[in-house]
Symmetry: none
Subunit: 251 residues, 2 copies
Amino acid sequence: MRAIERQLKIQQLFNAGVFIDAENLCRRLRTSESTVRRDLIALEKQGFLRRVHGGAIAVEAREEPLDFDWSSRRNPEEKERIGKAVAGLVEDGQTVILDGGSTVAAVARNLQGRSLQIITNSIPIAEIFYDSKCAEVTLTGGFLYPRLGVLLGPFCEQMLEQVAADMLIMGIGGITENGLSNSNTLIVGSERKMIEVSRKVIVVADHSKFGRSAMVHLAPLDKVDLVVSDQALNTRFQQLLERHHVDFVLA
Amino acid sequence: MRAIERQLKIQQLFNAGVFIDAENLCRRLRTSESTVRRDLIALEKQGFLRRVHGGAIAVEAREEPLDFDWSSRRNPEEKERIGKAVAGLVEDGQTVILDGGSTVAAVARNLQGRSLQIITNSIPIAEIFYDSKCAEVTLTGGFLYPRLGVLLGPFCEQMLEQVAADMLIMGIGGITENGLSNSNTLIVGSERKMIEVSRKVIVVADHSKFGRSAMVHLAPLDKVDLVVSDQALNTRFQQLLERHHVDFVLA
DNA sequence: CGACAATTCAGTCAAAATCAATCATAAAAA
DNA sequence: TTTTTATGATTGATTTTGACTGAATTGTCG
């Protein structure tokens, strides 16, 4: 394995956590302790990480102890653009369901201070509205999926059956001609209920989600009213969305 | 585990509360008392916490987005004592309902790492179990009461009707010969449901709660099985509890 | 209030782990 | 081929760790 390859890999590993163990790295990269140290020194010189005894920590990780979503650090500007665009589609007084995920969190941040009814199954998203005096927030109950801080399972779905919303703003794992997909059966279960009870379904998906398929099928494209993304689509996906009467907005 | 890993973890633990027990830390981090002390000294030098006898407390005036309980900074060590005592009454495998409040949060901190079913309507308390691999946490749904981070209202109560628990651990606003009381109608509504579905009702109340009455009546003393507090009671309250067959534990 | 027991604290020490530097060899580049 | 660079092993130095000690603090009991 080349030096560059290894160092890219080390940078990727930081997406899964703030600390990396040196001994662990040797095993995963199948290389010696000396080489790992040299790589870490190089990455430290680039300002990407800070070396500490036993490994290294991400420089950005200071002061932010826990991050629910391992993907929340990817493409933050793109997500913020999407968030702002989607927030512009919401009208005051509406009832909006927000599911979990970092892109939806960007939407939520741009909805702060608006007068809305918010329904969500995500604790991080509920927290965004903590000091918002205008929005009324209702959490679905359910089993706490700790890694993402979302509530799932029968209690969640049962609660969703009893509400009706003007709009659903939803993140996904992937989108293909077969429809939407996501990574977890329980998450998909609650998202299906959300779709059922919402008059309008908006999917937020950065460009990396197109053409990718996640583990569990979630819904066909016909269920979706609007997709908001950060890059223009190629002709194939444009036609696919048109065929299913799905609008597309470029943020 | 590496030094940095431990210290990051300690910082995380402070997000869930204001006091940390040294002995607890040793167990949770699986390390010696010497090492924990050295970590605490290091974190104190960084100004992140203040060491006190038996552990450490969070330094005041950190930029905390939300202080879920205006009383959470009062008597942190007394509350921690109560928390430890109550945690000792819980057996592994049990289903425990925890309501909101800073004293109950102290109990929750002492339950970390235990193998339990937790049901709660408080987001700060659910967060305490984020990185606990053993406990399964279920949140009631409901309307988010932002100042305290608790979930209330019909959705919450309806969800509670569908569960059964071995034990309820509950904070209160006041306790007098008329029974328990609390400060908010919605909170009282959900707490009544919690009492209904729990086999055993434990009330945690520091000494300031005795003889004080809050706005809304919650339940008569007969509903309570055990009161845990931080100071011995005077004869009047002792007799009062005895008359209603309520046990008392001094933490 | 004061004596006693039980914790908790601070400092020391040896063992273990990790680090930095060096060197010989292997791989890549010239 | 020669030169340069990257790698892995080895070395002693440094840091970290857990156990142990006596001192200080806290809680209990009379």
